[in-house]
Symmetry: C2
Amino acid sequence: MSTPRAWAVVLASGGMDSTVTLALAAQEYRLAMLHIAYGQRTEARELKAFHALADFYQAERRLVARLDHLKQIGGSSLTDPALAVERAHLERKDIPSSYVPFRNAHLLSIAVSWGETLAARKIFIGAVAEDSSGYPDCRPEYYEAFNRVIALGTKPETCIEIATPVIHWRKSEIVRQGLALKAPFELTWSCYQAEDVACGVCDSCALRLRAFQEAGAEDPIPYATRPVYARAEGPSR
Amino acid sequence: MSTPRAWAVVLASGGMDSTVTLALAAQEYRLAMLHIAYGQRTEARELKAFHALADFYQAERRLVARLDHLKQIGGSSLTDPALAVERAHLERKDIPSSYVPFRNAHLLSIAVSWGETLAARKIFIGAVAEDSSGYPDCRPEYYEAFNRVIALGTKPETCIEIATPVIHWRKSEIVRQGLALKAPFELTWSCYQAEDVACGVCDSCALRLRAFQEAGAEDPIPYATRPVYARAEGPSR
C-alpha cells in the first residue's frame, strides 16, 4: 500500500501561470484548489476557467472565497471602474495601475488558513518575478518573508510552505512546460478586461501572446486582435 | 501652521485591548478604523461596539470588511457552531479551540491594502503576547516578520509599519492605562458567546475580569456572573 499523498492548496486564478503551477502540483499532491473573487472586471470569466480546471484536474476540494473589500478599498484599475485598464507597456519599470494593493497577502492568508485545517504541506502560487508585470508581491524574497510569517503564525504542528515553481521562468518557458505537461491552455483565461474574446492589448494579453509567440506555439483561446509582441529571446532564466 | 498628522489604520474588534490601542493611536494619528466581521458568534455585538468607539474617537474613516471564508474554512469554536466555546482555562499552555487558523494575517492584509491607498504610516493592532490566549499570531516575532512582508510586498513609496503598543503589557496594565487615557470601556465588548450580558466564563471574559480585578477597578459592562479570577500579581512586564 502506498502512503496517501499530502494535500496542497493551489491558488488558481484561471490564468496561464497558475495553470502550469497546478499541473506541476498535480503530479505530487492531493489538490485543494482555491480561487479568489475580488470584484475584478473579469470575475465571472475567471471563475468559469477555475471550475473547468478543477474538473480537468479532478481536484478533491475546491473553495471560492470573496474579497469584496479589495473593491471597497480600490486603488487598482482591476477593481475600480473609474481607472482605465492600460494598453500593454511591456518594457515598463514602474508599477502598473493594475497593481491591487498588497493583494497576494490576502490570497496567501486564505490559502494558509484553509491549508492549516487540511494539514496541507504546500501552498502553490503561480507568481512570476522578472518576466512579468512588475508587481512587488511577485518577488522571491516576498515569499521567503511570508514563509516566516506562516511558520510563526500557525500551530506548532502545522508545516506549510509556499511553493513558487515558475517564479524564475520566462513566460515562454511556462508555455513550453505547460505544453509538455499537457496543461489545458484552452480552458484558461488571462485578459484583464474582456470575457468572451480576449482583447489582445492589455498587459496580461500582451504577456501571454508574447509568451506563445516566443514558444512558437498557437494560443488556443480567441483574441480580438493578435499583435506581434515577440522579442529576440536570450537564455531562459 | 502645523503639519497635517499622518494616517494610521487601527484594527478595532470592539474589545478591550484594541480599544486601549486605539486610545494610544488617537493621540498621534488621523484615525482610519477597521473592523473585520468573519462570522464569529458575537459579530453583531462587536460591530455595535466598533461604531460606538469610532463615534467616540471621531474617526475620519471607518471600514467594515467581511471575511466569510473564515467561517467556510472553519476550524475554530469562534466560527464553527459545531464546536463549543470552552470555559476559561487561564493557565493552559496549548492553543485554545477559539484559535482561528492564521486569522491575524487576514486582518493585517486588509489593513495594509487600505493603508497603502491612504498613504498611512502605521497599522495599530491590539495584540497581547504572553498574558493572553496563547494564539501563535500574537507574538512580537510574528509582527516583525509581517513587517518584512509589508516592506517587500508594497510600492517603494509605501512606508507602513505595524505598531503593537500593548503587546508586552499584562492585561491589568492595559486596564490601568485605559483608565488613565479615559478609554470608554463601557462601549467595548469582549465575550466570545453572548451579546447582551457577557457570560463571565469564556476565556475572553475570564481574561478581562481578571484584568479589572487585578487593576482594582470595576468593569462597567454587564456580566451574567463575575467569578473571581485574580491571581497574585508579579512585576508588570
